[in-house]
Amino acid sequence: MKWWLALAAFCLAAGFLIFGAVALRPFGEPRYREMDEYFIRFSQAELAANNVVTAIVFDYRGYDTLGEATVLFTAVTGVALILRRLKK
């Protein structure tokens, strides 16, 4: 691979990423937040959970957490498969 092509592509990608970071809304001032306001407002009423993050992780987005537990399980299975001792 030509080094200048890689360098140009890298500069382009990095430049656009940083440009995107600047072009995004100002830090600390979310524009749309109705979903999060809902979580903050109703997690106690619906789930009786004081920790809103846990309420989201295990209830509102519990399915994600199932997927994420699957990722961990898959990775452990994969590591066990890769590092298994082969019977000669």
């Binding site: 691979m1 092509l5 890689a6 140009a8 592509a9 890298f10 382009l12 990608a13 656009f16």
Partner: protein, 110 residues
């Protein structure tokens, strides 16, 4: 019945029925020709052995890499850069991802 077979392409339609009938006809023709082969051919005799350029070949197999040798040789100027492109170096592969990302960014954002 017809509609379960035809697919419409905008210009017309494609139906495998006619093609299959034609293929069957060609097959029958081929079998007819084949059946008119030499009567004195016997299986299991030395007639079965391949005969290449005047002598009995020991291992008459033409391996797959030798097939299309001339064609591949003719295409070599195109094929060898292509093979070099698949260099096996993981950094190159990551760099090509960056190239695709850059092209997409240029196309979409600018």
């Amino acid at each position: 019945m017809e509609e379960t077979i035809k697919i419409f392409t905008g210009h017309g339609y494609w139906t495998p029925l006619i093609w299959t009938l034609a293929a069957l006809g060609v097959l029958i023709l081929a079998i007819l020709l084949w059946s008119r082969g030499r009567r004195e051919y016997k299986r299991g005799t030395e007639q079965e052995l391949p005969f290449l350029s005047g002598e009995k070949a020991e291992n008459p197999r033409v391996g797959a890499p030798h097939l299309y040798w001339g064609f591949v040789e003719a295409l070599r100027p195109f094929l060898s850069p292509l093979r070099d492109w698949h260099s096996g170096l993981i950094n190159d592969y990551a760099a090509w991802f960056l190239v695709v990302l850059g092209v997409a960014l240029l196309l979409l954002v600018v």
